[in-house]
Every structure is written in C-alpha cells, then in structure tokens.
C-alpha cells in the first residue's frame, strides 16, 4: 500500500498484493474515524477478515458434524475507540451468523463454539479485545 502526506490530510491506497482481488482502495484518517464516505479503513478490512475466517471455521465444524452448510451469512462489526491512554484501539468484534444446515440445535451450538475457538482471527482479536458471537440456525 502507498501513503502520501501527513496523517490528518494525507491519503492512502490499499492493494491486495498476493491475489490482486482488490487494488487502489482509498482510505484516509477522517474517513477512518468519521463517516466512511465510500472509503475503507483498517478496521473494515479486519471486519471482512473476521467474518470470512469465522464463516470458514463454521463451515468446517458443520462439515465435521456431517452437516455441510447450504448457506452461511456472517457479519462482523468491529469497533475502534479511544482508550484511557488517548490512543485508539480495536475494542470489540461482534459476529452475527445465520446458518442453513441440516443439524440439530445442540450440535449446531457445539459447532459454533468450536468455530469461534478455532478461527485464527477470533484468536487474534480476543488477545486484546472482545469477540462475541450471535448465531442462529435457520430452516433448510
């Protein structure tokens, strides 16, 4: 990625160097803290990573329980806030998952718990912030 200028007035552009899946995404400090106005931010990228990571972990756990999902929808909401030191920190990531799979409620709960325990991005975030999971099984 490339950054030009000071933090308050400068601008950055983010590119996925390995896959090329995205390129030249703009970001800036005002958009990071205030209204995004079409610009992404480090926290939004972390939210995308966390949602994708949890979806894969839950797919793996449901498959292990012989119920590969027809469809999972996972949303992650990452919160960054000013802490006592005056610095900004990621303080939480809240996952909301909706799953269509042929599985009983108890086995589903166990799969959700295992997915959260096994997702590497959950493990990262949990080191310094809160991770919560709201999961619901939907009829197939």
């Amino acid at each position: 990625m490339v950054w030009e200028g000071s933090s308050a007035k400068g601008r950055g552009a983010i590119t996925a160097a390995s896959s090329g899946a995205f390129a030249g995404l703009a970001y800036s400090e005002p958009a990071r803290i205030g209204a995004p106005d079409g610009e992404t931010s480090p926290e939004e990228l972390v939210a995308a990573a966390h949602a994708a990571c949890f979806a894969m972990s839950l797919a793996a756990e449901l498959t292990r329980a012989k119920a590969p999902p027809e469809r999972l929808t996972v949303r992650a909401e990452v919160v960054i806030d000013e802490v006592e030191s005056g610095d900004h920190r990621i303080v939480s990531s809240a996952l909301t998952a909706r799953a269509r799979a042929r599985i009983g409620e108890d086995a589903f709960r166990a799969a959700v718990e295992a997915a959260d325990a096994g997702c590497p991005v959950s493990a990262l975030i949990r080191g310094t912030a809160t991770v919560s999971v709201d999961a619901e099984l939907q009829e197939v």
């Binding site: 490339v2 983010i14 803290i33 949602a51 994708a52 839950l58 498959t63 999902p69």
Partner: protein, 143 residues
Amino acid sequence: MATERRAEVTWSGDLLEGKGTIESVGSGAFGPLPVSWKARAEEQGADTSPEELIAAAHAACFSMALSGGLARAGHTAEALSTTATLTFVPGTGITKSVLDVQGDVPGMDEAAFREAAEAAKENCPVSQALKGNVELELSARLL
C-alpha cells in the same frame, strides 16, 4: 468516539470445496470478493483470504500511524510504501506479520525514520490487536 466498521460474508458448502464471498462492507469500498480455503492455505489464486485482508489492514494502519509520527517529528512524507506479509500456519493460526516500509521523507535522517517506524509498529491499533499472538517484524528504510 467509538467507530463501527462492518462486513458481510456468505459461504456455501464444506470448507475445502465450498465457496465464500465477501458480499459487502459498510463503506461500499469493495465487494463482492470471492474467498476460499484454497487461496488461504494451498495456492494463491485470484481469491482473497482472511490473512490477506489482515495484511492489508496492518499495512494501512501502520502507514497512517507512521505518517502521524512523522508529522509530530515535524516531517511530512512525500510517500510511504508499505507491504505487510502475514504467515498463516493451518492448525496453528496466524504466526507472524512482517512490515516492510520505504519512505520518501524530505529532510529526515535514516535513524529518526527507523525510530518513528518502530513506534508505529508498536502502537498502531492493528499491531496492538496482533501483539501477543503474532510475532511482528519491521524493516524500514528511506529511499
């Protein structure tokens, strides 16, 4: 003030053969983007992965923090070019993030630049979230 950022992902099928999509993000800046286990752990194709997204977040966060540090030291970067490379070990997790930054900062000496880069590596919010679980490395130089 707390700021919320969100993303939504869908997945169909098992882990190894299933397909995922980062459908949308709150800002609308990107998506839909395909994600897959293959791109994550086997061979890098055109699909993205959670680790690539974390790498993008880390490089972006670090660069913004460094530009702030440079400003506090009385300097403005003409350009900072940063690459973050994340290591993912299946079964273990994310083990390392290596930041590599090249700066074009008029009037600044190499030692001061490295010091500012080291501070940004320690303090940017994504570094703070990674620290403890993930080894952080930095290589910084002026152009």
